[in-house]
């Protein structure tokens, strides 16, 4: 019964979030979700296929309608889909018309360690297919075996498989909860807590207001972050956490990175130090964005066996495309033991969690300046 209700709500949600006007699905039909192959962003080799299989199983068990593996493989082979980190507009349209999939689930394995202690972090987002690729939901789930050792270390997890099950359960629960709830935050949802002071940007400057091109919410495009750290994919991991914080905040319309990437490639916009003003003009014209955010990661140290604390430093800038001005600049820096004095109380175990908290602090401060003038 719950599964049927979920499928109907999912269909309604996808119809609302998908193409404006023409759609191939009716609200009563269960609209399947295509789960793309997982992107590996972890430093160590992760069994992405096995992790994906486990998530697919958990979603199916929760009554989430999924596109068959064969149909997905055939589609990806036919369209030569190699980019699995997002959904381009063309691919989204083809997904809807050829497979009937109402949404695509894009997932990355951001952190994986077998032991000492086992760790796993996944980031997932649901994107509507059709004429408008829109991020419907985004979340991360992570766990480190030593994050809650408890009395005499009895709460410590040493088995990667046990840890994996918990992480996948968290992610599947989050998605299923979102689908059964429908679009938007429920009225009775608890208010979002402000991030602790230690996770706010160390230095930041902002303009008082952002002008929007249309009447809707502020449209934001996040460009890929450049990476000067010694950790592979640190730029992508932080980019995803910033994106997730923006999506979670809900007060701005965040463009799907796959759509942004498609435009960047077509327009051949490559600028190491971020876009220039004429490039920002071009992005406004092509994507109708009000704000372009871009960043750079200078430090990303993941805690591991024998090493010290996780540590992250990154910078984010923003350009208001209407005013053709830089409106935001911030430098965030954090360590796992910042503000920790007694018994490791409040200690952050992984760089992934630290990235998530720092991104939340950044977006909290940024969005307070990004309210549309009424």
């Amino acid at each position: 019964m719950a599964a049927t209700r979920q499928a109907v709500l999912l269909a309604a949600l996808l119809v609302a979030g998908g193409a404006g006007g023409s759609t191939l699905v009716r609200a009563q039909d269960p609209v399947p979700i295509a789960v793309l192959p997982f992107e590996a962003l972890s430093e160590t080799v992760a069994p992405v296929t096995a992790i994906r299989g486990a998530l697919v199983g958990r979603l199916a068990a929760r009554g989430v309608p999924l596109l068959g593996e064969e149909a997905l493989e055939t589609f990806m082979r036919r369209h030569r889909v190699r980019y699995i980190g997002g959904l381009a507009l063309e691919t989204g349209r083809a997904f809807r018309s050829e497979t009937g999939a109402g949404a695509v689930l894009v997932t990355s394995v951001d952190l994986y360690a077998e032991k000492d202690p086992p760790r796993l972090a996944l980031t997932s987002r649901l994107i509507s297919t059709g004429d408008r690729a829109r991020i419907l939901w985004m979340d991360s789930a992570r766990m480190a075996g030593n994050e809650a050792p408890g009395f005499l270390g009895l709460g410590r997890i040493d088995d990667q498989k046990a840890l994996r099950d918990r992480v996948i359960d968290r992610l599947a629960d989050s998605l299923a909860r979102h689908l059964s709830r429908g679009e938007g935050r429920p009225a009775d949802a608890p208010a979002r807590t402000r991030p602790p002071r230690r996770f706010l940007p160390r230095t930041s400057s902002r303009s008082p207001g952002i002008q929007s091109a249309g009447n809707g919410p502020v449209r934001i495009a996040v460009l890929p972050f450049s990476d000067d750290s010694t950790t592979r994919h640190a730029g992508e991991i932080l980019f995803l956490q910033v994106l997730r914080s923006l999506v979670e905040a809900g007060s701005a319309e965040v463009l799907e990175p796959g759509v942004v990437r498609e435009v960047l490639l077509k327009a051949r916009l490559v600028q190491e130090q971020g876009p220039s003003i004429p490039q920002a003009d071009l992005l406004r014209a092509l994507l109708e964005v009000d704000v372009v955010l871009f960043g750079e990661v200078s430090e990303y140290i993941e805690a591991g066996a024998g090493t010290a604390e996780p540590e992250i430093e990154f910078l984010v800038r923003g350009i208001d495309t209407a005013r053709r001005q830089a409106i935001w600049s911030s430098v965030s820096h954090g360590r796992g033991d910042d503000g920790v004095f007694f018994f490791d109380w409040g200690r952050v175990e992984t760089a992934h969690e630290l990235a998530s908290e720092l991104a939340r602090g950044l977006i909290d401060r940024f969005l307070s300046s990004a309210k549309k003038p009424s």
Binding site: T203, S205, D228, Q273, S276, E313, R317, S329, V331
Partner: protein
């Protein structure tokens, strides 16, 4: 009683000697010898509304040190609200269009061309002189030393120049040990010193 007399005699000998040493040290100092800032007295800094911060020169062995310090400098300069700081991508476009051979040390003519191209009032250049960890016996600490110059966009001449150093090992750390502050904190302090000197 005898002890008190000995103490008074000893104090009577050491106090004048100490005072003499202090006077000698003061006499050796030259006027302005400790200053690290130059302000052009003919420049009206309130007229500068926009600034392009060029890539800093890196005189250290730490890769990308100049980028990190420049990023913090640009963010903190913009946070003062006194000047509009051009985004780095726009500066890179200007550097490319004016074909600056060495953006970290432009000539006066190049500064004029760049300022006209980017439509800015002033241009800032800088150098990172020291960036990294220093050690002394068991003590370690991070140190940052940075210098910056402001050049007028119309003439290309230097109107402000200063340098700042933060971090390092002081007497307390040398005696008691300790790791000092994180690099980011030291960098923020050094840049704050620089900006304080710019707006003083």
């Amino acid at each position: 009683m005898a002890d008190r007399g000995r103490l008074a005699r000893r104090t009577g000998r050491t106090l004048p000697a100490g005072l003499a040493l202090l006077l000698c040290a003061a006499g050796c100092a030259t006027p302005g010898g400790g200053r690290t800032t130059f302000h052009d007295p003919n420049m009206d800094f309130s007229l500068a509304r926009s600034v392009a911060v060029l890539p800093f020169a890196n005189l250290t062995t730490t890769a990308k040190a100049e980028e990190r310090v420049r990023d913090v400098f640009m963010t903190m300069l913009q946070a003062t609200g006194a000047l509009y700081v051009l985004p780095p991508g726009e500066v890179a476009r200007g550097v490319s269009r004016t074909s600056l051979p060495n953006p970290a040390a432009p000539t006066a003519e190049e500064v004029v061309r760049l300022a006209r191209n980017l439509d800015v009032d002033v241009v800032i250049t800088g150098s990172v002189l020291e960036y990294g960890e220093v050690r002394s016996a068991s003590a370690t600490a991070n140190v940052v030393s940075v210098s910056a110059q402001m050049l007028e966009g119309q003439t290309g001449r230097v109107v402000w120049s200063s340098s700042a150093t933060r971090g390092g090992i002081d007497a307390g750390k040398r005696i008691f040990g300790g790791g000092g502050e994180p690099m980011n904190v030291v960098t923020v302090k050094a840049v704050k010193d620089l900006l304080d000197r710019l707006f003083e």
